[in-house]
Symmetry: C2
DNA sequence: GTGAAAGCGCTAACAC
DNA sequence: GTGTTAGCGCTTTCAC
């Protein structure tokens, strides 16, 4: 079979220097002459030496690994974030290992943290709701930064996104297109980001002098199906909206499906704006106008913050809020010209009975 | 600050035994009296002892961690698999760490593998296309099992799914509902699973004595948007299909969107079957009839295979193919009664001009 | 059934 | 600049 992985001792021996010198050379530490360093580096590369990060960690130093803790990654939001953090970490010379929390985990906080601590120099926690882990994290004495839409956790540096501003931007965009009846499909109000979007929607309406009709707000739960229902009910109003701002992209998809189901075309008859800009948003028809969460930037911010926490243990915990960006694609267009209430013909109602 | 994590030495000292005895007790190894074991366990739990898996690994033994290598997890398929493997591993007492490969990784095969090897007892590789890593994996002498739709890699144990059978099942389902003109929206043919689905579709048609019209096969690329186009073109045929089997769920969504765009209702006017059963499939409207990939089972199979490879290094590499399951939801229904070609009125064509 | 010694691969601390 | 020593936390091997 393949031989054992080369060790530092072997590199040192071949180079004819001590392990320490080899170590210093490989780690870019001072105290090695230029030639010695070059020689060591060359030999290491020749024999395919790779440091053993377990040993590195065990001996009490950094090992260049950042841990990412996530809830089960079944949603796009988390997936994008993991990629964002991963790329940013790599750019800084760090590797990244993700540890997925399953719901059954409740008991094992301590051991999970132990594991993380043994393997990594610090952790980026993408924990959406339950803060139980945060307590454990706090006790574990590991550098941590939280990425979340609602990190009101004390003492942790955090990175989040300006949901409020994004919502305002979405409504403004719609208003600029001439829409005056703008609906909102919401989500789980226990999430701070969701509440912020709702507030943003309402405030923007008010600021623009547009009517804010409670009927135009439909509850959702961030899922496509629920948004389909919400959208359907909004469109069934006697004075339906000509535009809808959905709390996330998935919900926007649901709204578009509902519109189509009623014989409406997007964006001709209904404009729709989402939130997140998950990859699918640009790959559906019509490509979705949406508020982009700056995943890459969030990753970078998280990594940088983490690194500086590692340098300076007692640094004050920053709270970084990143701006969103309006991405105009093809799901929004000018408000229809027909007067409110005189909607163009829809297919007759018997046409809409459910099948099967 | 929080004190240092407790070590084995501390446990042993408190228990009044040697480290070795404590170690044996904690690892369920023979050679410890019942009472001693109980005592050690109790103390360990009391002081919150957690083994250091880095040290465990360094000292040459197993550490109970399974690595999962994945391409960037931006798609549902991979996400589900990660969850499946994670759960299965946990059920066997293993922790799981996922290492995400970024495209820029090309160079670093060796170091990645080094990293993996230092931290884990074995790895589940969810590598879709490039086998470059597989070579590295082969050379690294780490137990590996591949999960993939196309693992023709030699020597590796693999777990995959019976795409062919699934496709057959999908077509049979449609035929049973009375459909005779059944279309297919395909995907990237470089993926074995995709080719299998196409073959299954064709063979099932032949076996059922249904016409197999080349026009009824539209190319796709597994994305929703491309499937939207493919579906649109299929539905624009002079003799359009009354049912479409899409190569994956995302494509099925695209087809449904296309149908709606043309004023057709699903399933009344068009039945659609997907493949995968990603979580979204049940959360859209209408809930999607689809061929389920048994993600949980795949995870279990992968983990079990990996464990037995670990036991028995030179065991022959099994090639496990798991069956799929037809999940009937609401996107499929009886074939429309009207004769082929006398399609019910669609909205007039000028209605379909693109906006903006 | 239990323990002592040695070592996994590395780096911090202190020589020289 | 470079080398030596010690030790991270654990498990192996070999005693008893």
């Amino acid at each position: 079979m393949s031989k054992q992985a080369p060790t530092l001792a072997q590199v040192a021996k071949i180079a004819g220097v001590s392990q320490m010198t080899a170590s210093r050379a490989l780690n870019d530490k001072p105290g090695v002459s230029h030639e010695t360093r070059e020689a060591v580096l060359k030999i290491a590369s020749d024999i395919g030496y790779v440091v053993n990060r377990s040993a590195q960690k065990l001996s009490g130093s950094r090992n260049g690994i950042i841990g990412i803790m996530t809830p089960v990654l079944d949603n796009h939001y988390v997936g994008e974030l993991v990629v964002g953090v991963g790329r940013a970490a790599r750019a800084q010379g760090y590797e990244t290992l993700v540890y997925t929390l399953f719901d059954e985990d409740r008991h094992s906080h301590r051991s999970v943290l132990g594991l993380i601590k043994q393997f990594t120099d610090g952790v980026v926690a993408i924990l959406p709701r339950e803060s139980a882990y945060f307590n454990a994290l706090a006790a574990a004495n590991v550098p941590v930064v939280a990425i979340d839409q609602r990190c009101s956790l004390d003492g942790f540096p955090s990175v989040s996104v300006d949901s409020y501003g994004g919502a305002v931007r979405a409504v403004e965009h719609l208003a600029q297109l001439g829409h005056t009846r703008i609906g909102f499909v919401g989500g789980d109000e226990s999430i701070e980001g969701v509440r912020d979007r709702r507030r943003g929607y309402l405030d923007a309406l008010a600021r623009l002098g547009l009517p804010s009709d409670p009927n135009l707000i439909a509850p959702g739960d961030l899922s496509q199906m629920r948004a389909f229902e919400a959208g359907s009910s909004l469109l069934a109003l006697s004075e339906p909206p000509t535009a809808i701002f959905a709390v996330n992209d998935l919900s926007a998809f649901g709204v578009i499906a509902a519109a189509r189901e009623q014989g409406l075309r997007v964006p001709r008859d209904l404009s729709v704006v989402g939130f997140d800009d998950i990859p699918m948003a640009s790959q559906v028809h019509p490509p979705l106008t949406t508020i982009r969460q700056p995943f890459a930037q969030m990753g970078r911010a998280a990594v940088n913050t983490l690194l500086s926490q590692m340098e300076n243990d007692d640094a004050i915990a920053p709270r970084i809020v990143l701006p969103t960006e309006l991405i105009v694609r093809e799901s929004t267009g000018p408000a229809p010209r027909y007067a409110v209430g005189t909607r163009r013909t829809k297919r007759s109602d018997h046409d809409r009975t459910t099948s099967r």
